[in-house]
Amino acid sequence: MVASLAASGYDAAPAMSENREPPIKFPKDYDVARRALEGDNEAGKVIAMKHQEMLVRVLMARGVKHHDAEDVVADVISECFGARKTGTAGRALLESYEGRSALSTWMVTATWNRWLDAKRRDKYRGELPRFKEEANAGGDDPFERLPDDDEKSALDKDLESLMRSALDAAFASLDAEALLILKLVYQHRVSQELIAMMWQSNQSRISRTISNAREQIRRVTLETINERDPRLSLQWEDFLELCQASSEPLF
């Protein structure tokens, strides 16, 4: 996860080169980002408003305390349009966005990487040998402590349970045989060839059943989430990213 995040985003991504034109898969997102970078206040406001709350929730879903999440998100959003505190001086973070993923997915990646950077710094400092008198210093300084278990386990239960219930609703909406086929293939690793044999069918039909089920899961999940919490305005890529993030330990 960390590797994939690093690969896709925050620190390593080069600015769009003049000699290279990567495919733009999300032209609307790319356009709004470009306009914001060119000083269009309205575009900048749209980006900030659309992502701020969602990003805070994404961080909280991984155990980040609410006020820390707000701080990180505020930093990332301001760096989207201005110079970074460290690193490439004078370059807006948003310059790295190339429209190859949804802007919201890219923002999630950038924000998560920023958080990981901060935690790594905390961890390094927390592992320095401490003098006795420092042990009683209260530990209020965030650079004096390691991430503790309570922090890691303090998941945003609201978001997690929303995601879970939306997925449950999506799976429950499936035809029973389709659901069983999914369970056999994805939970028990039974090959589609063997499923086809048992069902006295052919593999392409089984494959189609799976593909249709996946589309239905995607649609019902997003519908359910948007119905229950329209403020989130999640895209499918965001949802998958959250699922992945929630399934993996912090370090």
Binding site: E177, L180, V185, Y186, H188, L194, R218, S247
Partner: protein
């Protein structure tokens, strides 16, 4: 293998209760016979529809089916 579905199942797996530890003998002779036939592709559509709910609800039924499918 579809990575999206893998991701979704991994997420949901976190909430699955521990495996019940029930044995295949709890399934009953009738169901086990049907599952054995399903494993060899010998159930009619109607018979298969009968066993689908049990397979969805009971992990031990799925494990029995898989063991009949892939002999040790």
């Amino acid at each position: 293998m579809d990575t999206e579905l893998n991701t979704l199942f991994s997420f949901l797996d976190r909430f699955e209760p521990e495996v019940s530890g029930r044995s295949a003998s709890d399934l009953g002779e009738h169901l086990r016979e049907k599952l054995t036939r399903l494993a060899s592709g010998n159930l009619t559509d109607a018979e298969r529809s009968e066993v689908v709910p049990a397979l969805l609800e009971r992990e031990e039924a799925r494990l029995f089916l898989i063991s009949a499918l892939v002999p040790n």
